[in-house]
Structures are given as structure tokens and as C-alpha cells.
């Protein structure tokens, strides 16, 4: 059996500045060893440990989709020791990727269902993976309506702009893009916080409609009551959590909340499950 702590060696293939303030960059990695990409078979919603020998590891949601081959992609916010170092690395540098880790959005269970994807800020990465997966010609027909509500602080903080523009033009996905505020007169999309936009744009709940949510704590806190109001039952609200993680495989203990280990039993839970788990922040 392989050592689950050992990262696959990868080379940085490209680095793109993802937001105007340069606090986020998108890294595309290619695997150095043949066969590793296949071993790294993942699903949307999973994460990986980006492993930089000499600095440490950092858990990051996978932004690429399983339908995209030849690379794996992460969009990383510059915040701590490892991410600061990563932001200073160059194309061609060698590091490691360990995973895939955690569970995924339960897309197999959502076949035939309508899906509303609600995201904000830089938590949009695994949702991007999900959208790319759902829109793949091999997959699209297996799902019902798809709505996407995505908010950022201002137009400069919106991730994956080029792709959003393309999705906007398609008629098999309803995009509802919003910013908290902007003084840009050419902004033609929504203005307002995600919960407000959700209230007016999200489809009404029914037996066949599920919400997938990922975002900062405040956005989640205020969007939950909106979904309640729209009639979404808690087993149809799917959320992704973040916690400090180290091992990523449910062994080192630090991401333990209640009976669950966020890195292995999560990070994806339904709101129904979360109701029975302590919320440490409070």
C-alpha cells in the first residue's frame, strides 16, 4: 500500500494572477511521474495538500474538473507561510500535490435534479470544478436546470472571468453574478450581497432542487435563512467546510468536530448533518 503522506511530485506549468489585487493566483500543475495523474483521480469538491518541501503543506480545494485532463489546477489565496511562499514560486518549479482528499459534492445522487450553486469570494474554486463538470457535453444532459449565484466584493475580485463570460452566453445554465458594490458604470450584472440575490434569483424549492453552497462564514450564515424561506429542506442544502488540517486523511486529529473529521468525513456535509455538529466559532 502506498504511503498516504507522500505527495506526488509536480511541476508548476502556469501561474495566473486571478484577481486585481493579486491576492489570488491560479496554479496549474503537471505530474512529473507517469501514472500519477491516474492515481490522482478526483471528484468535484475534493481537496489536496499542496506540499512544498521545506515549507510545509496546505489544504486547498481542487479548482479543475475531473473532465479536464493533463493537469490539476488550484486557485490559492495568499495568507499564511506556505501560501506566501507559493505565490513567490515560478513556472517550472518542483513541488508536490497529495490527494485527492476528503469527500466530494454528491453529484451522482443529483442526476436528474435541478441544482443551484451558491458561492462567494475565493471559495468559488471547487464550485468552478463542479460547473465545468456539469457543463461537460458528456454530463450536461444527466442533470436538470442549473443556476449559479456567485458574488465577490467588487468586479476586480471575481474569479475565472473569462469562463463566467462564456457560461453567461449559454442557455443551459443561468448565471447570477453579483458584487457587493461597485462604482464601475459599465457593470451590467447584479449589485448586492449573495443572500439578497439568492432571495430574488434562486429557484423556488421543490422535491427535485438542491443547493450547493461554499463561501465565507458570513455569507453562509445569512444565506441559510434565505434558503429556508425559499423552502429548501436541510437535507437538500449541501455545504463545504474548512478547518485547519494537516494529514488530510483523518488521522492527525486537528480537524475533529463532534464525531467527524472534516478532512475525511467532509469537507462536504448537508445542513441537516451540520445541525448535529458543534460550531466551534460560537
Amino acid at each position: 500500500m502506498e504511503n498516504p503522506y507522500k505527495a506526488y511530485p509536480v511541476r508548476i506549468d502556469s501561474i495566473d494572477v486571478a484577481t486585481q489585487d493579486k491576492s489570488l493566483r491560479t496554479f496549474k500543475f503537471v505530474f512529473l511521474n507517469e501514472g500519477d495523474e491516474e492515481k490522482f483521480a478526483y471528484e468535484s469538491g475534493q481537496f489536496a495538500e499542496l506540499s512544498i518541501p521545506g515549507k510545509g503543506e496546505i489544504p486547498i480545494g481542487i479548482a479543475s474538473s475531473p473532465t479536464e485532463k493533463g493537469f490539476v489546477k488550484f486557485t490559492v489565496f495568499r495568507t499564511g507561510l506556505v501560501t506566501n511562499h507559493l505565490h513567490n514560486m515560478k513556472v517550472g518549479d518542483i513541488m508536490g500535490v497529495r490527494g485527492p482528499l476528503g469527500n466530494s459534492y454528491p453529484l451522482k445522487d443529483l442526476e436528474g435534479k435541478n441544482i443551484v450553486i451558491i458561492g462567494a469570494g475565493f471559495a468559488f474554486t471547487t464550485l468552478r470544478s463542479t460547473i465545468v463538470y456539469l457543463l461537460d457535453p458528456k454530463n450536461r444532459s444527466r442533470f436538470g436546470n442549473i443556476d449559479v449565484i456567485y458574488g465577490a466584493r467588487n468586479p476586480g475580485m471575481i474569479l475565472y472571468k473569462d469562463e463566467l463570460t462564456v457560461w453567461e452566453k449559454r442557455d443551459d445554465i443561468n448565471m447570477h453574478i453579483t458584487v457587493d458594490s461597485t462604482d464601475d458604470p459599465s457593470w451590467t450584472y447584479h449589485t448586492g450581497f449573495v443572500p439578497t440575490i439568492t432571495e430574488t434569483q434562486a429557484p423556488k424549492a421543490d422535491e427535485n432542487t438542491y443547493a450547493i453552497m461554499c463561501g465565507p462564514p458570513m455569507m453562509l450564515k445569512f444565506t441559510k435563512p434565505v434558503l429556508d424561506k425559499l423552502g429548501y429542506s436541510h437535507d437538500k442544502i449541501i455545504m463545504s467546510l474548512e478547518n485547519r488540517m494537516k494529514c488530510g486523511i483523518g488521522i492527525c486529529g486537528r480537524c475533529n468536530i463532534g464525531k467527524e473529521l472534516i478532512c475525511k468525513d467532509g469537507p462536504v456535509f448537508t445542513l441537516e448533518q451540520l445541525k448535529h455538529m458543534p460550531e466551534e466559532d460560537t
Binding site: T83, G253, R254, D281
Partner: protein, 346 residues
């Protein structure tokens, strides 16, 4: 199961014979307390001891352990790529482990050996180890193993149980691993275990302390979590790692890269839920920034989360180390009683 009689006079030569096949670990006296150490050549485990200050978990789970090495030198062809560390997983034996600590190893195994992942370092060390236990004739005043599903003569997690009987040990070889070790030591004289039952009863009768857990499984996690007991329980805590490091069932660890010049080692080190750093995010946000939250996490994990998750009892074997060593006398028995007695307002 085989019962063997070991004449105490033959113990030393038997241990000596083991050294050709096994790396030996055992209690060694240092200053005024015992700890489990790898025995030097010719050194015998000091079996005249109560229990060790730190638990023998370090025999399979060292406080610091190298996981990988790497080079940061870009001139090196394999720079920034993790290399495995050569480790010695040749057969080893822990001699004189107390039954509580052996049970702890089998509880901790559930964490390191799961259906999805096998922790290679812990498991390789575990599988290489033969656990030779020593029954407790004289439990300490802080021992409460009999109320944790364990006991001074418990056999869970052991390959051999030694029971002191005058000038001899009655050895119960409980597993194939245990029989192999007895063979390697040359201990072959068939014995009689009829004396054990009375000794066991006598030892158990000496244990007067207990932990109340009978109602814990029926409690609702969120009720205990929100119970107004934690401010008082946690007030005195200084958030050191004494309890977690001494505890045989605490397994949490941290992973750190330690560099020296252009080479380095990825290490794993014991960690503790008592420290704020344990849960601090890279962003500086800390979901468990308060002492109360951390103390609650430790006791909820031991006495409720683990119980609910595995249905194998609490994550405590009653060794009493945390009770003896806590600098401010936070006592898991008191905490458990408060949890056990707590009834949520309806």
C-alpha cells in the same frame, strides 16, 4: 493460549536471548520516575515499578519522527521531491507494559488503521511489536481502569501477560506473536494459571477510584457541548500539554518541515488540542481560540465523540496519569461525572 512458568532466576538470561531477535523496550528508572526506553545491551527492564510517567505509546508513536527527507538544492536532480526514510521495523518487544497501556494501543489503532487509510509509520511499528504485559498487583490510588472496560489483569492488546507469583512469573502467551517471543526467550516450562484468578480479584479490589460513564452514550452531543459546565471545568486549565503527552490514548500530531541548510526532514511531532496553535488557520482565524473551547474539545473527544463514533467505550483506560500530573488538578473523573450527571433543560 499457552501458560508458561518463568522462574525469576531465568528471567535475565531469557531477556538476554531475546536481544538477538528483538529490539527491546522497557521501563527504566530515571531520577525518581520510570519511563519506557529502548534497553541498552545487558540492561533489564525494571519491573518493580508502579507505572511509567509517560505512557509507552512512544514505542510505536515517538514524540518526533521523520517521515521524509528532501533536498532544496536545485543542483540536485531530485530537489523538492520527498524521499522515504529508512526505518528499522525489525521485530521489537515492549517488556512490562501495564494492561491499561496495552488496551490504549488497541484503542489508538482504530485511528491509525482505518478502512480508507493505513498510517504506515504507526502500523509498521505496531506490527513489528510484541507486547509483553505485566499485571498490576498494586494499582496506584489514582488508577480507575476497572471502570473503563479495562483492569489490572486485562489482556486486551497484549501478546503475553506476565503475572508475578512469588519466585516466578506465570506467563500467558495470548497470541502467536507472544508464543514466538516466549520460544525465543527459551521460556518453555509449562505453567499453571490457577493462581491468577485470586490475584486478579485481589488487585481489582484494591482499585477504589472510578469514572462514571454509564449515561454518556444516551446523551446528545449538542446538549453536552452546550452544557453550562465548561466555564467552571476549564477555569484552572493553563493549556499546557501535560495531559495529552502523558495520555496513552492521545494520538494527535503535527507535521513540520525542519530544514538545515539545503536539506530537510518532514517530521511529525506529538501535538495537543490544548494549544491555540492546534486549530489556528493560516489566515490567523482560530475556531477554537478560547481555553474553554479547547478543554471542552479534549473531554468531549475522549468521553463522547469517541464513544459515539466507535461504540467501543470511552477513549480513556484509567491509567490516572493526567490526574497525577495535571499542574492544576483538572480531574477527568470529575469532568466525566459532570457530563454523566448533566440533564439538558427540555
Amino acid at each position: 493460549m499457552k501458560v508458561i512458568n518463568i522462574d525469576k532466576e531465568k528471567w535475565a538470561s531469557g531477556v538476554e536471548s531475546l536481544t538477538s531477535t528483538y529490539r527491546l523496550f522497557g521501563p527504566v528508572k530515571e531520577d525518581d520516575s520510570h519511563n519506557f526506553k529502548e534497553l541498552k545491551k545487558g540492561e533489564l527492564p525494571d519491573l518493580a515499578y508502579g507505572n511509567s510517567k509517560l505512557s509507552p505509546k512512544s514505542a510505536v508513536f515517538p514524540p518526533s519522527e521523520a517521515m521524509f527527507t528532501y533536498s532544496l538544492d536545485e543542483k540536485n536532480e531530485n530537489h523538492h521531491i520527498l524521499n522515504d526514510v529508512k526505518k528499522d521495523y525489525s521485530p521489537r518487544a515492549v517488556l512490562g507494559i501495564r494492561p491499561c497501556d496495552a488496551k490504549a494501543v488497541s484503542l489508538v489503532r482504530m485511528n491509525f488503521d482505518t478502512k480508507e487509510y493505513r498510517d504506515p509509520y504507526w502500523m509498521d511499528a505496531f506490527e513489528a511489536t510484541t507486547f509483553v504485559g505485566l499485571a498490576c498487583d498494586n494499582p496506584c490510588s489514582t488508577c480507575f481502569c476497572t471502570s473503563t472496560g479495562c483492569g489490572p489483569f486485562s489482556e486486551e492488546g497484549l501478546d503475553v501477560l506476565l503475572v508475578e507469583n512469588g519466585n516466578a512469573y506465570i506467563a500467558k502467551a495470548l497470541t502467536a506473536k507472544g508464543e514466538k517471543l516466549m520460544d525465543a526467550a527459551g521460556f518453555k516450562t509449562a505453567g499453571d494459571d490457577s493462581a491468577i484468578a485470586a490475584k486478579k480479584a485481589a488487585a481489582e479490589a484494591k482499585i477504589t477510584a472510578s469514572i462514571e460513564t454509564d449515561k454518556l452514550s444516551e446523551k446528545v452531543i449538542m446538549d453536552l457541548y452546550d452544557a453550562p459546565i465548561w466555564d467552571d471545568i476549564s477555569f484552572s486549565c493553563i493549556n499546557c500539554c501535560t495531559c495529552t503527552y502523558a495520555c496513552p490514548t492521545c494520538w494527535c500530531f503535527d507535521i513540520q518541515d525542519e530544514n538545515k541548510g539545503l536539506s530537510g526532514v518532514r517530521m511529525r511531532n506529538w501535538d495537543s488540542c490544548m494549544t491555540p496553535l492546534f486549530t489556528m488557520h493560516g489566515s490567523g482565524h482560530n475556531p477554537r481560540s478560547q481555553k474553554k473551547q479547547r478543554v471542552r474539545q479534549r473531554f468531549m473527544h475522549k468521553l463522547k465523540y469517541f464513544l459515539d463514533k466507535y461504540q467501543k467505550g470511552i477513549m480513556c483506560v484509567g491509567c490516572g496519569r493526567c490526574v497525577q500530573q495535571c499542574p492544576v488538578n483538572i480531574d477527568i473523573r470529575t469532568v466525566s461525572k459532570k457530563m454523566n450527571d448533566y440533564v439538558a433543560a427540555s
